[in-house]
């Protein structure tokens, strides 16, 4: 492993950079003895080497040159690096398709308590998604986006993190919030935008946010959370906290400029951030073959100098192990890690989408049945004697009841009052906003029949 130049003292960082510059691009101290420190004589030496090697094939092969960033060997063969390797990067998994533990697999052991909570939360997430989706179809909710098929990514990754790790989600990771303690009622409140919502009714459904649970409010723009996460990781590093930043995005999000810049920045800043990509095969109707031509996301990490791994996103145990290991690396070594979780978006992109228009129902059905993350993990915990059919049906009926109740209460709760339209734009509403609020109130007063009755003034 390369010399650890990182130090918590900024001054020694500064000295290290100076040293690096003086060594003319060499990364480790061991190389300095081979080269003269005097730049002028070194330059002459190189010239001399070049001249003397004309016609000598062996010497030409052995030559190296200092370029910014380190030594580069030369080659007389005109060789292009292939656009893809012969084989795709293998995918780390621990449970087979049937939920049986693969022999000789490496994984991080989970306790019964954690495993049962993981499974229960996956079930809860699934039920919550189904009920909210139905509610939207019935017209009770304006919008919803499910996480069906990606429950393992959500819950298992959350389980492997600590509560101080800051989360920068895209919008398909409510499971992380669920794991951390966001209640079904709180989810429902946000979806209905009522006055109990953390966000004070300002965002559309599934755009959750909780300061208390270190889950940053979802911003709908794709991949903008990636640079935010790098900044947060940088902040954690500056404060020397035992925590990292974790950010999620989809295969589609990796095409955005912010993805590339964020990875580059994270590597340069040596920021402790986990980039977790949910490669679920589809970006609304765009399949991955139309999104990028690389071997998925995992190979992109190397381009930025980032350690990467490809994981079976529907294997909760593998997901847990990978994130757990990555987190330790990120914090102790102060480096970013890229995790590509292969999975499938079983649901539609959102309630505004009908995915059967662009993909076969068979494909969806196959992933939902044969590759279902819940059933695989359930098999494993049952094989450990930690779960039973009875507990399953108890859990499901309890959650369903809770969900329906949460929906009912959220629907009935008042919306936030009008002043919330103008507050929090700034820390204190300025003159122009106060004036605008006054105007709105005046208009409502003169035309009460044109305004919704359930918005309190």
């Amino acid at each position: 492993m390369a010399l650890r130049l990182r130090s918590s003292l900024s001054k020694s960082n500064f000295l290290n950079i100076l040293l690096r510059h003086n060594n003319l691009g060499f990364g480790t101290a061991s190389h300095t003895t081979r080269v003269s420190q005097n730049p002028i004589s070194r330059f002459c030496n190189t010239m001399a080497e070049k001249l003397s090697s004309v016609g000598e094939h062996e010497d030409a092969n052995a030559q190296v040159m200092d370029f910014p960033g380190g030594k580069v060997a030369f080659t007389p063969e005109i060789k292009f690096i292939s656009e893809s390797s012969k084989e795709r990067v293998p995918c780390y998994r621990v449970l087979d398709d049937n939920g049986k533990l693969i022999t000789n697999s490496h994984f991080v052991q989970v306790s019964e308590e954690v495993a049962v909570k993981m499974y229960s939360d996956m079930v809860t997430l699934q039920i919550m998604d189904n009920i909210f989706y139905e509610a939207q179809r019935q017209g009770r909710l304006s919008f919803y986006a499910t996480t069906i098929g990606e429950e393992a990514i959500n819950i298992a990754s959350a389980a492997a993190l600590s509560p101080q790790d800051v989360i920068f989600p895209q919008y398909r990771e409510p499971g992380v919030l669920l794991w951390r303690g966001f209640t079904l009622q709180e989810f429902a409140n946000q979806c209905f935008g009522n006055k109990s919502d953390n966000g004070k009714g300002r965002q559309m459904p599934v755009h959750y946010g909780s300061n208390k649970l270190n889950y940053f409010t979802v911003s709908a723009t794709i991949a903008t959370q990636l640079p935010n996460a790098v900044g947060a990781a940088y902040s954690l590093k500056m404060d020397k906290k035992d925590a990292c930043a974790v950010t999620y995005f989809g295969d589609g999000g990796s095409s955005e400029g912010d993805f590339h810049a964020a990875l580059n920045f994270a590597a340069v800043m040596e920021a402790p951030v986990l980039f977790i990509c949910r490669n679920n095969g589809w970006a609304i109707s765009t399949p991955t073959s139309d999104q990028f031509r690389s071997d998925g996301l995992v190979v992109k990490g190397r381009a930025y100098g980032i350690r990467s791994i490809r994981v079976d996103g529907n294997d909760a145990l593998a997901m847990y192990s990978a994130v757990h290991t990555a987190r330790e690396m990120a914090i102790s070594e102060e480096r970013p890690i890229l995790i590509e979780a292969l999975t499938y978006r079983v649901g539609h992109h959102s309630t505004s989408d009908d995915s059967t228009r662009y993909r076969s129902a068979d494909e969806i059905e196959w992933w939902n049945k044969a590759r279902n993350p819940l059933s695989r993990f359930r098999t494993w915990i049952e094989s450990n004697g930690w779960w039973s059919d009875e507990e399953e049906s108890d859990l499901r009926s309890r959650i369903k009841k809770e969900m329906l109740e949460a929906l009912r209460v959220a629907e009935k709760t008042e919306k936030p009052n009008l002043e919330n339209m103008f507050s929090d734009v700034y820390d204190v509403p300025p003159l122009n906003l106060r004036e605008q609020e006054r105007q709105v109130r005046q208009t409502i007063k003169s035309h009460p029949q044109d305004y919704p009755s359930d918005v309190p003034l």
Binding site: N13, N198, G209, F216, T221, T224, G231, D258, N264, V425
Partner: protein, 400 residues
């Protein structure tokens, strides 16, 4: 951010702004008091007729430029250039609060393209003065994320025009997240950099971004124009809980002025009274302030008494100061460097017309740059920027 009505801050105000009387002291402490005294003498004997003759009985303020009179009553200040004032403000805030950090291209050991961050990396270390790769959207996004977790980053755009690449982060995240998160997360960032038309920097390096950013809800915009207000605004912006965009001008970095030794900040939402007058209100900001003051010299010699206000706060406008001035003079001329269409002047014209229509004796006139990319040729470039001669003509026209 305090409300504008109670806005005037004394020179040493820190986080709270003391409400003062309606005379509305500016932040120029002793110097301003002299102005107010002179102004009020003049107003007592003012004739309220429409004649715009100069009253020779009062002490006329011949100085066109904000005073350089000897400040013997204050402690001896120190003289420095505008970029040094910015640096001083930044350094003092970084000393005061360990969460303040700087991010941008070449801000570290290079000291910044305009030397505003010179010496800071040596003093505070690489972690607090961060050199970033070239991606404005990414380091702006990074600063936003860092701000949400407790840091107070100052983002430097090497040239304001480059921040167009950061528009997504500024508009969608910086301006919005405090609101959409229900107030859970604050983003106390400062985004600063040099902009405006320079000396043959080419079209891409002569952008005036204030016109593009002015609609974004959730951000504040201020423009500095003197070493005094540069330092004061920098400090106030860093201390503000809202995201603030601080517009500097490429050609003003070497302005020299004596500023107080003691700690002071300038109110972010307040305009600066540069020269009180009776005949016409001239609203301006940034570099155009100097063109206006040059024109004012000529105007004074011709017998006019212009009131020059440096609006400083581009979002929101200080309609209190502006309004009081309009009510006094009844004529408004806006002089700006923005393009005509959709510029700060356009919004200001609308705001004045909406709020002070009854007080106007003439239509609001706005002098701006033309709607063209800034040409490179020196002569052409000069003609895209409003020149003092045009200002004089405009005032004469308005005061007929």
């Amino acid at each position: 951010m305090s409300s504008i009505i109670h806005g005037a801050g004394a020179a040493t105000a820190l986080s709270t702004f003391n409400p003062v009387d309606s005379k509305k002291l500016t932040n120029l402490s002793v110097r301003s008091q002299r102005y107010i005294v002179a102004g009020s003498e003049a107003s007592k004997k003012k004739s309220f007729g429409s004649a715009l003759t100069v009253r020779h009985s009062q002490k006329l303020i011949p100085n066109a430029v904000a005073t350089k009179e000897a400040d013997t009553s204050t402690s001896t200040g120190h003289e420095l250039l505008l970029f040094e004032a910015l640096q001083e403000g930044l350094e003092e805030e970084m000393d005061r609060d360990a969460n303040v950090c700087v991010m941008g291209e070449d801000v570290g050991h290079y000291g910044g393209s305009y030397k505003v961050t010179k010496g800071l990396a040596d003093k505070f270390g690489d972690l607090r003065v961060l050199d970033t790769p070239i991606c404005e959207n990414a380091f702006t996004g990074m600063a936003i994320g860092a701000a949400m977790t407790g840091l107070r980053p100052v983002i430097e755009g090497m040239n304001m025009g480059f921040l167009l690449l950061a528009f997504n982060q500024i508009s969608n995240n910086c301006g919005m997240l405090h609101y959409t998160s229900g107030g859970q997360f604050t983003i106390p960032v400062v985004i600063r950099g040099p902009g405006g038309v320079g000396r043959q920097l080419g079209a891409e390096h002569s952008q005036r971004l204030e016109s593009y950013f002015q609609s974004i809800p959730g951000i504040q915009m201020v423009a500095c124009s003197t070493p005094y207000n540069a330092k004061g605004l920098m400090k106030a912006a860093i201390r503000s809980e809202n995201p603030v965009i601080l517009f500097e001008h490429v050609l003003l970095y070497n302005l020299k002025e004596k500023i107080p030794d003691e700690d002071y900040i300038c109110n972010l939402e307040e305009a600066e009274m540069v020269r009180p007058g009776e005949h016409i209100t001239i609203l301006t900001y940034s570099r155009m302030r100097y063109h206006v003051m040059q024109a004012a010299k000529t105007l004074v010699n011709k017998g006019y008494d212009p009131e020059v206000i440096d609006i400083r706060s581009l979002k929101p406008f200080d309609l209190h100061t502006i309004g009081n001035s309009v009510k006094k003079t009844h004529r408004v001329l806006i002089v700006e460097e923005c393009m005509r269409t959709g510029g700060i002047g356009a919004s200001l014209t609308a705001a004045i017309n909406e709020n002070f229509h009854d007080y106007l004796d003439a239509p609001v006139m706005c002098l701006s740059s033309q709607d063209v990319p800034t040409p490179y040729a020196g002569t052409l470039e000069e003609w895209t920027v409003v020149q003092p001669a045009q200002i004089v003509t405009a005032v004469e026209q308005l005061c007929q």
